[in-house]
């Protein structure tokens, strides 16, 4: 991975974090918010592989943890694993169909929400269960799926400009 690509990843994640906390956090359609950071992490994993996915996931999750009030490391753990998983899933495809990223993002968003709910329940942070959990599970996945095509297009466009992994 080139330094250029690293800069792109870092900047994208920072942008996503800022947008997430400044803009998207104020939006709550029907009581749920999209998770742009997650979408960006998964898109990078799908585009660059498991190593980048888990690294980006860990870093982004750590910052989310630092900015939030929940137990530190929780999102770092979840996003790290999710980024890695997305990268591994990518390795099974030769070419990605248009809807594949959407499916992957949808599934992994659900996993993230469930993992977050389970872990925070274990740690006694917040009890997310019942109707709010189901709502957030369904709606956040849906919103993330909607965001995916744009984010994925941006991520792949940035990659072709910085460097080509196949050439590396």
């Amino acid at each position: 991975m080139s330094a250029n690509r690293l800069a792109v990843v870092v900047l994208s994640i920072v942008t996503a974090l800022v947008l997430q906390t400044s803009v998207l956090a104020r939006i709550s359609f029907l009581g749920a918010k999209p998770d742009l950071v997650l979408v960006v992490v998964v898109c990078f994993a799908l585009s660059d592989g498991p190593a980048v996915g888990m690294g980006a996931g860990f870093a982004a999750g750590l910052v989310v943890d630092l900015l939030g009030t929940h137990t530190l490391g929780l999102f770092a753990l979840v996003l790290c694993v999710v980024g890695y998983a997305a990268g591994v899933i990518r390795s099974y495809f030769d070419r990605l169909a248009t809807f594949t990223p959407m499916l992957v993002v949808g599934a992994l968003t659900a996993v993230t929400v469930l993992a977050y709910a389970g872990l925070s329940l274990l740690l006694g942070d917040v009890e997310v269960s019942g109707e709010p959990l189901v709502r957030s599970l369904l709606l956040t996945s849906l919103y993330d799926v909607v965001l995916t095509p744009f984010v994925f297009a941006a991520v792949t466009a940035l990659r072709s400009r910085s460097d080509d992994p196949r050439g590396a």
């Binding site: 400044s22 803009v23 888990m54 910052v63 630092l66 753990l77 590396a168």
Partner: protein
């Protein structure tokens, strides 16, 4: 690059381990650790950026937030609408209460002036027929009601009790054709039976064809033992028939009571110890209803000189209504020719 290499897995394990370490440290230490400093640092770095972005995109953010809050706004609209309806209902209730208060006040005044002992009831149903004018009230024998007792409201005579059940009673309304009460012309003192006539004005038969009567003159009940109690305002004379019957003279009477809007009534369970004569009329008379005849229904305080002479002491013995209640413009009214009917001047009506 897409390969899941061994090195990647080691890094993954390390990252997961780090995460668990962080979670453990944060979970066990809580506040006041080095991690706290990390959070502060992150906030210090991101805070200004967030603030700048937020202020930059605030209009967009607000618009999006509004969009996102549509569900919430909908809820708010619903709750506000419900609240609005609730307030409107309350307003109507207040109006209703005010009207009821007025009615009760009038009723209190009437029963107090008459010295009637009454039981207050509410009309719960009106007679179903087109030719039968009855009302069911929500008090019965358990409340001390018995048959033939007089029913009044704040305006005057409503009717009499014809059937009594434990908890309800049936009232024959004064406008029922079967209803008859002995009335007395408040000014001239002549008595005669007043009969209901449905929606048409009540009719009073003056037994003497030569009896004096003025349009606008009030009629009060002239009690008989076991019947309607004395002194209850019945109505005002609106028309005197010109058909000169040999035996009687018929007078049209507009009742004081609005029989289309009966609500709270009072059943007189004990007649007054003294006959109230015209005392009940004092404020019961001014019930201006849109009538074609420009009558002066409350001009009782000043009967025409000729009339008082003819009717003698029976007319208004000291019980002349207070001037305040009388809409008469002056203390000496104009006994206009044609307004007083009687033998001395049997003027034909226009």
């Amino acid at each position: 690059m897409y390969r899941d290499s061994r090195r990647t897995r080691i890094v993954l394990a390390l990252l997961i381990l780090t995460s668990f370490t962080l979670i453990t440290i944060d979970y066990r230490a809580g506040e006041g650790t080095a991690l706290r400093g990390l959070r502060t640092a992150a906030a210090a770095v991101f805070g200004p950026v967030q603030r700048a972005v937020t202020s930059g995109v605030r209009p967009i953010g607000n618009a999006l937030a509004t969009l996102g809050d549509l569900g919430g706004l909908n809820d708010e609209v619903h709750s506000l609408r419900a609240e609005n309806q609730e307030l409107r209902n309350q307003l109507h209730q207040v109006d209703d209460l005010r009207r009821e208060n007025d009615a009760l006040r009038k009723l209190n005044g009437l029963t107090a002036r008459g010295g009637y002992k009454t039981v207050r009831c509410r009309v719960v149903a009106l007679g179903p027929g087109n030719f039968e004018w009855t009302a069911t009230v929500d008090c019965g024998s358990r409340d001390g009601i018995s048959k033939d007792q007089t029913v009044v409201n704040g305006d005057g005579l409503v009717g009499k009790v014809v059937e009594v059940a434990p908890f309800t009673s049936l009232v024959l309304l004064a406008i029922d054709p079967q209803f008859t009460v002995i009335g007395r012309l408040a000014v001239h003192g002549t008595t005669g039976p007043v009969t209901g006539n449905g929606l048409r004005p009540m009719e009073m038969q003056l037994l003497a064809p030569t009896a004096l009567v003025s349009i606008g003159e009030a009629i009060v009940s002239n009690g008989v033992q076991g019947g309607i109690v004395s002194g209850v305002p019945i109505g005002v004379v609106t028309k005197v028939s010109t058909a000169r019957s040999v035996v009687t003279r018929t007078v049209e009477v507009r009742p004081f009571v609005d029989f289309t809007a009966l609500d709270t009534v009072a059943v007189v369970v004990e007649p007054p110890r003294r006959d109230p004569r015209n005392a009940v009329l004092v404020t019961a008379t001014p019930t201006p209803t849109p009538s074609a005849t420009p009558s002066q229904p409350a001009c009782l305080a000043s009967p025409s000189p000729g009339a008082s002479g003819a009717s003698g002491a029976s007319g208004a013995p000291g019980g002349t209504p207070s001037p305040g209640a009388s809409p008469c413009p002056s203390a000496t009214p104009t006994p206009t020719p044609g307004r007083t009917f009687g033998t001395p001047r049997p003027t034909p009506t226009p």
